[in-house]
């Protein structure tokens, strides 16, 4: 089974990437993957849907955290539907939840920002995404948390020799690795 993300490198030095003409700095040891966000009832992703980088952070214990301004700049859809659980709390701040669907792009093996010409993988998140209000400075870049990986049965592996990560769906390969 082909991995969703194949040897996505992360840098041990400061780096940057470009989103819709905007330069975004990437700190050392930050894992960057590319996604699109749409309303949760989107069946197929329109090819012109904007995509943007997010930090893959297993220390983040929700699905996706994004700042209001990033949502405006980097997505086309409105996200009017409040999630069923309407809010979460982070360091005393009430953060709104909205229903959305995450589309995760596959990369060309060994390249972080070169994406393959294939339909991205839809990640189901009925709990919604967390949208941080304008009074918060967090997050600088959207953060994809561990919950979305676990609930979509994705296996993350980190190769410290090459400084890259691979993300797979559950399959015979992941089961075999689990047995070894």
């Amino acid at each position: 089974m082909t991995p969703i993300l194949r040897r996505v490198p992360f840098s041990t030095k400061a780096d940057e990437t470009v989103v819709q003409g905007e330069r975004i700095s990437i700190r050392p040891y930050q894992i960057i993957v590319w996604i699109s966000l749409t309303n949760s009832n989107t069946k197929e992703l329109h090819p012109a849907t904007p995509r943007f980088p997010v930090i893959l952070d297993t220390g983040h214990n929700h699905n996706l955290s994004i700042h209001e301004s990033q949502l405006t700049r980097w997505t086309n859809d409105d996200f009017p539907s409040p999630s069923r659980r309407t809010a979460i709390r982070d360091r005393g701040l009430s953060v709104a939840l909205r229903l959305a669907k995450i589309w995760l792009y596959s990369n060309q093996a060994g390249y972080r920002d070169r994406l393959v010409d294939r339909t991205p993988i839809a990640l189901e998140i009925p709990e919604g995404i967390a949208i941080y209000p304008s009074e918060s400075e967090f997050p600088r870049l959207p953060i994809l948390g561990l919950r979305v990986l676990v609930k979509n049965r994705l296996h993350l592996s980190i190769n410290p020799d090459r400084c890259d990560i691979t993300l797979r769906r559950t399959g015979w390969r992941t089961r075999l690795l689990d047995w070894l």
Partner: protein, 165 residues
């Protein structure tokens, strides 16, 4: 090939009184290639910590519409039973109050069913058949992560030479 066979499960009364119906581990028999039978437990997320958290921090979200709350409660009531069906695990399930509208892999299939019934946004709930630790009507305290360190560890100057490493 190893086969995992769910046997049975049971609740403890104190799990239910915790307000989040402690989802049990699933006792399993594992048949090995050599014909031996080993017993084990289906790995589920531990609910011990979240049970404790639910007790101390159970702040009910006041903004949940009444219809959604009723649907959430029906989902939470049925979740332990749904978890016993291995084919349903990880699937999404939609409730309209006490009625289970459907189980599907994707949310849009369920949203279509809601549209067919002309349900408004405040009458349904979609949850995942997953051993959750916290009822969906509780406001969850999250750890945002993303604690960024600004310096480049490779660029720290060597004190003896003044050169970067």
């Amino acid at each position: 090939m190893t086969r995992l066979i769910p046997l049975s499960f049971s609740f403890r009364a104190d799990d239910l009184s915790n307000g989040c119906a402690g989802i049990p581990d699933f006792p399993l028999q594992r048949k090995t290639n050599r014909g031996k039978v080993r017993t084990g437990r289906y790995r589920t997320m531990s609910t011990d910590v979240t049970n404790a958290e639910a007790k101390s921090d159970s702040e009910v979200d006041p903004n949940i519409p009444e219809g959604v709350l009723a649907s959430m409660q029906a989902f939470w009531r049925d979740l332990p039973e749904m978890l016993t069906h291995r084919r349903w695990r990880d699937r999404l399930v939609c409730y309209h109050r006490n009625e289970r509208i459907g189980i599907a892999k994707t949310s849009w299939e369920l949203l279509e069913k809601c549209e067919e019934r002309n349900l408004t946004d405040d009458e349904w709930f979609i949850g995942r058949i997953w051993p959750e630790g916290l009822p969906p009507w509780i406001i969850e305290e999250i750890e945002g992560g993303g604690h960024e360190i600004d310096y480049d560890p490779e660029e720290i100057p060597d004190e003896s030479t003044g050169e970067t490493r």
